[in-house]
Symmetry: C5
């Protein structure tokens, strides 16, 4: 799972494509589909007066038609291949061309932009496999629009609550539905973050227990993931702050407390992210320190063995020299002594013991 860099290649490909289009003179705000975009499936949920209606795989026209009859419609586009449908929805709800361009360019930074009659929120939606997709959400009086890169999203709990007739959702207020969807997106960050924490704590235990392994590789990967998440979380928090400071009739005071709650969750995620990035850095340092300690211990052994046996080896070599003892008594004297050998051995043992005592004194053993 290389969370942060997943969109890397794709983003670059898109950018090249966009550059090409610009080079031939297409203005900003020109909509063009990413050739790799998933096919668009439109589903619509209409709620109001305690009732709800859900249709999947409908046409844009069918979705828009429900707008007349119901107090609140939520139109969801999964897959961004059908430019015409997206353009039609944009036209029906008065979305700005630049906003639609942001919907299609799925490497946006999370943000919230406010127009007179609707707000436009961009977030990053995580799935459990570590992938992520861009969610573009518009909400205003009587409508919520969501655009996502592919099918599969974090909205299932909301759909379940509508199906079960949750009174607040069926009251038909766009602001509360938008809150519920955004809350569901943020809630889906927690299992991902918890998995990261579990991995860090596992790595910490391994490092402290001295388990061999690729902990540094893993820590590096985790730090990149945490860095990637931070990059999405901070602007998401700022976007939620923009919503909270909104002064529009279609954002009711009583919904504000819910958005405060979501912002609290985002703060909690940012706090956790920061703490564990710090922890990961601390673990990398700890790993280095422990490795250095181990190397140092190895060098200690090398030094002890070398310092004892190299001089001994020299002594053995000394007595192995071929000076001729028969020419004079000065040559190789001990070798012709009846107890020469035991004396030499005793001298060597004494030297070795002396060195050992010295090492113990200096606390190298």
């Amino acid at each position: 799972m290389r969370l942060a860099s997943i969109p890397g290649k794709k983003r670059r490909a898109r950018r090249k494509e966009k550059a090409r289009r610009l080079a031939v003179g297409a203005p900003p705000g020109t909509l063009e589909a990413d050739p790799q975009a998933a096919p668009t499936v439109i589903s619509v949920v209409a709620v109001g007066g305690g009732e709800s209606l859900r249709q999947t795989g409908v046409t844009v026209a069918a979705a828009l038609a429900l707008r007349e009859a119901w107090p609140l419609v939520w139109i969801d586009c999964s897959g961004l291949a059908d430019i015409e449908a997206i353009r039609a929805i944009g036209a029906a709800f008065g979305l700005h061309p630049l906003a639609l361009e942001d919907v299609l360019d799925t490497a946006q930074r999370p943000k919230c932009e406010v127009q007179a009659d609707h707000a436009f929120v961009v977030m990053r939606m995580l799935d459990r496999e570590g992938g992520s997709e861009q969610l573009s959400l518009f909400f205003g009086e009587g409508f919520v629009l969501t655009f996502q890169e592919r099918r599969g999203d974090s909205f299932e709990p909301v759909r379940q609550r509508i199906a079960k007739g949750a009174p607040r959702l069926l009251a038909g207020h766009a602001d509360y539905l938008a809150y519920a969807l955004i809350d569901a997106v943020i809630d889906a960050y927690f299992p991902v973050v918890d998995a990261q924490i579990a991995r860090i704590e596992q790595l910490e235990d391994d490092i402290l227990a001295g388990v061999d392994g690729d902990q540094v590789h893993d820590l590096h990967g985790l730090r990149r993931e945490l860095l990637g998440l931070k990059r999405w979380l901070r602007p998401t928090r700022d976007a939620l702050g923009v919503i909270l400071r909104l002064d529009r009739p279609w954002l009711r005071a009583e919904t504000r407390v819910y958005f405060t709650d979501v912002q609290d969750h985002a703060d909690q995620l940012i706090d956790t992210n920061e703490t564990y990035r710090d922890t990961a850095s601390g673990l990398i340092d700890l790993h280095m320190t422990l490795s250095a300690a181990k190397t140092s211990e190895v060098i200690n052994l090398l030094t002890i063995i070398s310092t004892i046996f190299i001089p001994l080896g020299f002594l053995a070599g000394l007595w192995g020299m071929n000076f001729n003892p028969e020419i004079s008594e000065w040559n190789m004297p001990l070798t012709q002594h009846p107890y020469g050998y035991p004396i030499a051995l005793a001298f060597m043992v004494a030297l070795a013991l002396g060195l050992l005592v010295y090492f113990r004194k200096r606390r190298w053993i």
Copy 2:
């Protein structure tokens, strides 16, 4: 004591549970007890007009009944298993469902939320064994509510002062009682922080004295604890700032100076925390530097011994070669000399001394 990560596993378990509930459509604000929550014990303290009354293990109804007769009631719920009781208290005092959800979800970030008629403060309460639990405190005109995860808390000094008839507490103002409780929670941080400081200073003394041991492990653990405390202290300070900026009739101007005092204490804790995190990092660096210095010293010895004895060993080997001296005078000449052996020895000693002088000159000895 792994302070920061204690709630880790539990939090993840709770989160999974919550995700499951959401997945089946429960709306935010639905109260459901953590299966591992401790049983709820309700105790109530009523004060006013210089008198006080304390009852433990009462029912919600009994606790609420006191509200009529006394100017100020403090209801404390220890243990969060009894959802019904908590819901009943919430209903009686007009608490927001999201706030009650926060009471039950004990992994909240410290915060202060303000409603028209009461304030809601979340803090982290430490005990002396290094554990921690969430404290949720509500206060408004005539009431203080506290919810904690289990029995045993930092409030004993306050209860003692009420029992002894402290005039300010018996005057029956909710804001002063809330201050006294919050102050007691903050005061309980000091012994924990002081213990951390004592451990760091002990480790510092050990490192500077060169005592062997696992100081790096301990420093790593301490840094994590300090990081964990910081994570609670900073938002706690912000929450106190929110209280200080409050403009509500039930927060009297004269109580503000007391909250300023608590905030000073929080600032002091944050300062200390930061200073000692810095110190811990500095100690890790110092430990690495001193270890490197020791390794370097060991390598020095290895080099000195090797540099002296490996060449000497080579010389001994040279004179141990088996060239036949009888074939020509060019072979092994010194070996057939009457003073060959002493000459060779003298040469070796001279070489060794020369190298020692060289090492001393380069300051390696």
Copy 3:
């Protein structure tokens, strides 16, 4: 590509020249051409009412003449050698002498300065070869002026769109044209940044795969480039913020949303820059850690081999000593034993095996 330091020498040369001029008494705001400046080529694009006219290599007078007939003229000066022309343009549009001096001194920090009737924006324009040049852009009611160091720029997409008759550009509003030009400059940062990301990810893959090579050199170079880009991006973002807060009749409310979009892009670039600077630092650390691990492994081998064979060598040396076994039985006893040699070998093998077992136990093998 040494992006950040490219203008280093040139800047110093210019500065010396300026110092010389100042030393002889020229006031600030005195225009003097850089002797190395490229020759000036003036081109003009006039738009309005859905029509457009483009002329290249015209005189200043010709360019200014178009101002009467068209709602909007865009005069571009490529190359800054012709001081007279620049002064004439400055006089015609009421530019401040200090602004003109900034146009010529091409080591400006990106900024936006606002006058009563026009805004002055300084940006850094990148080309695909990693070079960069200063862009000075003025815009006010009915005119856009651009000054660049040399021919070749990021504006080609805008020129194409004008040529193809893009309605918004041909409407003749200076603010929208200024936006389009600034947007094109920012868009040209993305391929450069994407190339940096691709290089970092390549280096990351190489380091993780253990590929040999100069990754540290490359990472150092990349970090300098990223640092250099940051130095341009941050003030550019601030300059865009100044434009967004402008309250002038010649900046229409509807154009503001476009500038917000450009600012989003700048934020994205800054985010990416920061994330990848962090990543580069992390990679340098990772590389060091992995190198240290490799060295540590090498030292391990050295220690194992030395620890096994140095004592064995000593033993062999022991039995190679020339004590005379004929003088007494105490000298070299085993050497005169019929199975002396195999016993000695067996002892050596046993010692080696023992050490290997010890090493495996300590997990050094």
Copy 4:
């Protein structure tokens, strides 16, 4: 001099005492003396109309009596053992119980609290031996109160100026006297900071000159001291800012410029502190780098010696083998050659020279 940690043990002792008192129900604001507090000596200086009177070792009553007759009295309490006296002074000047508690709890963070008729400033007063004590200063219309932990303070210059009849001090304005005292406290930081700088620069010279020694220990100690000072300086500066923003009749506009001057001094101290903390960190890094370089040099020598002599030793060993040359001509051929020995020696010398050339080429020598 372990500046920062001096109050460590004492603080913890006090805290335990306070916890004990709280546990038995004493309210915040209850005054109780530290058992180790120094005995209280009250001295009073009365000034006004160009005259001054100084009395030492007076009773509280005597000190307060002067208040009637003189425009300005400065009462100084050195030593905090006499709770009754402190309480009496507090009552006479209307000090808040929490403020008096802060006076006694001598581990306060520097701060400034403002009441309607006086300001309360807490600072840390340094003495030349590296010790420090808490100074609590109150000033309002007609009075300045100072409380310090023990005799001996930074106020001597002010007392001298009063004794010599300095007109501004004898004019009898409390704000100017408060300024003079605070200025004297800040001025006493400079010699301490200068001594730290001198030590850092000495250590820097030593490290750069390669002097052996415990520089890392010293640098670590210095960094802790600098960290400790920072912890006092930053809040002191903030406290001065609070005074400067005061809008009270007893703080005259003309005195404000003096407080600005003190704040400048605090800024200077903070700047210096920050710069030298940076420098100390840089020196620790430098020391590590230079140590690593030295170790690296040692390892170089080890490698050169080993790489030359270990192969040579092997060659000598080769010719020292006991293969029987009489059995066949294949065994030990050169040993039976008349010039075998010189040939072997020449080969060895050539090998050694070749390796030396190789090393020089790789720049290891």
Copy 5:
């Protein structure tokens, strides 16, 4: 050039002197000359109505006399020994005693203080030799005063422009002249900064090219210089910000744009300073990494040589043992074989080749 620490000793000396004076009761604001101050030389430039007059070495009275006749006088004091003259100027222009004290105490932090009728700016003036002196500049309606520590300054360009009759300077506005002088001071920072950049880039080239040398010493010195400059640049920028926010009749709106320009230059210097401090830190890291890589390479060679030749040496030693082959066939078997020697050699060569293959496989060669 040890830029940052140049004033160190001098400052400490001054401080001691000041402490002595304070100890004997001199009030703040008492002027006393530094015994080492350079003799004061007063020069005056009077401008207005397009004319100018310059006199050097005049008395204070003569300088002040010009004030009547000319719209603008600029009085410059080089050297701060003549306290009387400085006091006289201060009295004539109504300068605050604390400001005059700051003029004499030449270790001030750059700042700007505003009075009703004049502004007081303190800056640090660099000279080309790396020295620096304090510049104190006052300007108000009709006058500019500059005080500097010694002769020789950055003002020569301004004097030249006045001499050549620059119209803006001869118009006689104090604010423009003050701008011109401040601008000249800031401009003099650029060559110093450029020299630092050139040195860093030289060091970078050397490090990347692997040139031997004291780069770490130099980088450390450079980092200290950059740190020292930062310490002056940041408060200088803040001081310029204070001037820009000034609302006084003697600071005309049209001059404000010039001060904005100076502030831009200060921003540029700060940016450059920050970027190159980062770069210097990066280079220190790079140097360490490259050194570690080199050491690692050396250790590799040591390991390869040792791992090959130590076992070979052991084998040679094995065949050099003196077991008696005549006693039994078990002793030293190969040594009595006709091809024993070549077989042994072949075995050794095979072992060495095997190890080489192993090393190449592990990529250590």
